[in-house]
Symmetry: C2
Subunit: 238 residues, 2 copies
């Protein structure tokens, strides 16, 4: 293993400052030197120091305010990042064979709690799809999705017999914002039957809502058997 090339200067400075925070040398709320002073101390331009501090602020390590200076952020608020891949990747990464199964696909007026997510005319019909993503002989994900036919009219003419709507949407609909909610539920009779798990089994549910220019595109419940799936964060700082 050869020695790594030198890190860029701004990363070195960032690392040194972060080390002082992590070691407790700079404790919660402590004031850091100004950018000008740090630039002199490290014999570099102010912009270089600025970038170090800006990235530390983005990571939540420090807090910055004009005139007030840069301070070590209070702990106790932790951010965690989770990466989600498309189902097919998640399954093949685990070494399982992927199979898709359409359960139902109908166009109808959504119930009220779905209408609240999709917005628009309460009488408008939208596309409701239920399907399964199999990993070998187990159900890996049960997808229960509504697609907004106003924003995505193209979806109405598709059968989704061979391809899941989640994959089709990813490749065919430009989308901007996603909201997620992660919860643990218990498999009720119907869900247990569909997912081929015991009634009452724990289910990890990811609810996803996607929007485009503030117009809803689709919302979905993605349900996984608790023993097959969990979400891991990237290991990240503070």
């Amino acid at each position: 293993m050869g020695k790594k090339a030198a890190q860029p200067l701004y990363k070195q400075i960032k690392a040194r400052l972060k080390a002082q925070v992590v070691s407790g040398e700079l404790s919660q709320g402590a004031l850091l030197p100004s950018e000008t002073e740090l630039a002199e101390r490290y014999s570099c331009s102010r912009l270089t120091v600025h970038r170090s501090l800006r990235e530390l602020a983005d990571e939540g390590v420090v807090e910055r305010r004009r005139r007030a200076g840069t301070r070590v952020a209070m702990r106790g608020n932790t951010g965690l990042r989770i990466r989600l891949s498309r189902v097919t990747e998640e399954i093949s990464r685990r070494g399982f064979a992927y199979r898709y199964e359409l359960i139902k696909s109908v166009v109808k007026t959504p119930p009220l709690h779905i209408h609240r997510l999709l917005g628009g005319d309460p009488e408008q019909e939208h596309l409701h799809i239920k399907c399964l993503h199999w990993a070998n002989n187990r159900v890996f994900q049960f997808e229960d999705r509504w697609v907004n036919l106003i924003t995505v009219p193209k979806a109405q003419s598709l059968s989704f017999e061979k391809m899941s709507p989640s994959l089709w949407l990813l490749d065919n609909v430009p989308l901007s914002d996603l909201e997620h909610e992660i919860s643990a539920i218990s498999a009720k009779t119907q869900i247990a039957n569909v997912m081929k798990v015991e009634k009452g089994s724990p289910i990890l549910e990811v609810t996803r809502r996607s929007t485009w220019n503030n117009q809803s595109v689709s919302c979905a419940r993605l349900m996984h058997p608790g023993d097959l799936y969990s979400l891991k964060s990237e290991r990240k700082a503070l």
Copy 2:
């Protein structure tokens, strides 16, 4: 509501480029103009354009490689950010009264699966704590934690009768890295009894491991009744 001050130039450029991606005008894999060209087009310095593109790359909207240029990123890999606050805040934010209850606190040799997380000598004794965080009359979180007594010797002399170890650690131990895993489990008899929920209830479990300079500090299972707690992501792009 008065009009906002003009956005900084790099944000405007970022927004314009992003809009082209989101609208589909630039589709997956499409090549963007070079920094030099964009700088001319927007009549600004290259650094300003660079910052726009760098942030878009950080957000996963584009991918950049030297010589190869900047391309619209493939979709299907989504990042989601979740913010976690300390338990007391989570509870008071919901308008509930917080109460802490210590169940047990012992020093002993951990079982093997815990030792794998804590590292070091397999015979070394560590601090094992179980406690409850109540929200009004419901158990909001059941905390099952091991604290590494090699890295945090101070913890041995504390009783944790009034204050939970999670809160104490936050304020007293500098920590650098956190790893999380989120899963759905079913309340087995013992857990159901402790958490005062029905046997078999869904539990949202967050497993957290904290390290300091690559040495483990503590690991914990934070268990919440599925009907009381869920994790919401910040709404963020792509």
